[in-house]
Amino acid sequence: MKKISRRDLLRLALGGGILAGGAVAYKQTESVGLAKWARWMLRGQMARVTPATRVALAAAPSYDADLASAVRAIWRDANGPDLQNATVVIKPNLVDFVPGRPCYTMPQVTKALIHFLRAEMRVKKIIVGEGMTFRRDPHAILFETGYRDMLAQADVEYVDLNYDDLVKIPLRGGYAKMDSLFMARTVAEADALISVPKLKTHHWTKISASVKNLFGIVPGAKYGFPKNTLHMRGIDAFLAELLDSLPTPKRFALVDGIVGLQGDGPLFGTAVPSGVLVGGSDFLAVDATCARLMGMEPAAIEILTFMAWAGLGQIDSNKIELRGAALDALRQNFELAPPL
């Protein structure tokens, strides 16, 4: 029997190593395919060398404060997009109304944003839209939350995104293994989408802010109440898909953290008077900043790390240029949502 030489042994070891590496790569990427996996990974790596993104903070001790000035300062400090002559959809978080639970975006914040967009941005049209999660009828929640009166006074159209005319948009990422998604025509055809979430803890995603708020733009008529079929595709994966495939050319996030919700979010938590508004165009950077405001480390929040890895935004503090009020002065440790 021929004796195996040292060189052959090295060749065998090298071949085995290559095979083992290939097997690991195959295993890691088999659910989405190597090409897509590599594209996300490369985009994530590219994000490390792009300039820092801006996020702005404004102190706002109560809903009676001068929120219009706060919104103006945030837009300026965060380099908000020029929306002159744009059709803009404002998407507040009106997930539900639970007496005594601050689980929704307060109308005063949305009202201040409407005022700013009209008076200073000179937008063409403003639509407030939401696809509520649990109730099929928006009117009760609009009434209970004060939105009905606010919208009537501001003379702004409300569109129920659960029952709007639908278009099918292609999904670019491949994260949730869906080729396309039904979406409200109002959102798909708008020039800009402004996500106006509530600063909250969440039992699935740890935090709920500008990215999680996007769940409300997909139609309940198709995906049901509470759109569980999309949750079952993996919340992180589906939200990554949604963020990556948003058809609106311009976007901005303005987070209502004047009174946040801690503990059993997204509905039954308790109030935290955080006294802050947060804004920016990079939804991930905004949410990472929100996490820091809530006393959480973004690197420990899976939905943020996954999307950052895939290059959908920044969460590294070195890549987020904070402007406006000091984060350290506004930080409050939120009680986490109980794990499921």
């Binding site: 639970v98 649990f134 109730r135 099929r136 009828d137 009117h139 009760a140 009434f143 209970e144 129920d160 029952y163 709007d164 005319d165 639908l166 099918k168 039904f182 039992h203 008529a221 198709k222 995906y223 049901g224 109440f225 509470p226 569980n228 079929t229 079952m232 059993d264 509905l267 039954f268 949502a337 109980p338 499921l340």
Partner: protein
């Protein structure tokens, strides 16, 4: 209301959720049910039936609209609306409903987790909004109504659907969208889920403490005065031949100048079904 519904019919024979909005299966079927008892609506009814037949998918089910290539929960609406007039189409739809269900949890650890976090028996399932999803109260109750219209009330799936609704009832009263409890708190009942579950259980002759508590809750005055909620309540009260004066008065107050409720053909059809004389 009838004039509004006639005006709101789209050229394709269907109705949307708003005047001029694209046609969906749900409002089309609901308006068809609301209009079909009156001979003066014969032309509109015929066009609507034709639209539903045209939108039926090869697997027997219906998507949410013509452009939807996947059958789902609105199949129940279409089956119910066509049960009396289009036996073949309705039968194929009923078969699709019987062959599809919400997820059934068989893993012991997952079932225990569902028992703790949601307070449900996850081994019992009903119907989902979409294939591959968990079961929920609204599609389950709606499917029970559709299958009852197809005379399949003794089917094992119907009997399990009844068990599902009873298991998902909130201990205090009524139904939320699915689970009665979430992590730390009972969920509040909602009008549409409670009313539809009660209507379905009534048609299946199920009366017990759960339905009684829900019925009492639904009779309370302390609701937000919305047309959608009043329409559902009226429909349930009509099912049990309870007095309709309160609902009629409330809906009359909320009715718009164009005769609609909220400008929405679905809500208007529900109100019409709930308030017109038997």
């Amino acid at each position: 209301m009838i004039e509004f519904l006639q005006r709101a019919q789209n050229a394709d024979g269907g109705w949307g959720y708003k005047l001029g909005g694209m046609s969906f299966v749900e409002p089309t079927a609901a308006v068809l049910l609301a209009l079909s008892s009156d001979a003066q609506n014969a032309a509109a009814v015929q066009r609507a039936r034709g639209a539903l037949r045209q939108w039926q998918r090869a697997d027997g089910g219906w998507g949410i609209a013509r452009s939807d290539t996947e059958s789902g929960w609105m199949t129940a609406w279409a089956v119910w609306a066509l049960a009396a007039s289009d036996a073949d189409a309705a039968q194929r739809g009923a078969q699709w409903l019987l062959e599809n269900s919400g997820i059934r949890v068989t893993d012991t650890a997952q079932a225990q987790s569902a028992r703790t976090i949601l307070k449900i028996n996850a081994a019992i399932t009903g119907w989902a909004w979409q294939p591959g999803d968990a079961a929920w109260v609204f599609p389950t109750a709606l499917t029970l109504l559709a299958l009852t219209a197809m005379q399949t009330r003794d089917h094992a799936r119907v009997q399990e659907g009844i068990l599902y609704l009873l298991d998902r009832a909130i201990p205090d009263s009524g139904w939320n969208i699915g689970n009665p409890f979430m992590v730390t708190s009972n969920l509040p009942p909602t009008v549409e889920n409670t009313a539809l579950a009660l209507i379905a259980l009534r048609r299946l002759n199920v009366e017990n403490e759960i339905t009684q508590r829900a019925r009492d809750w639904l009779a309370q005055e302390s609701f937000t005065p919305t047309a959608f909620e009043w329409a559902w309540r009226a429909w349930y009260w009509k099912t049990i031949t309870a007095p309709l004066e309160r609902a009629r008065a409330a809906l009359q107050t909320l009715q718009r100048a164009d005769g609609s409720l909220d400008g929405n053909p679905l809500t208007t059809a529900l109100a019409l079904m709930g308030t017109r004389a038997p």
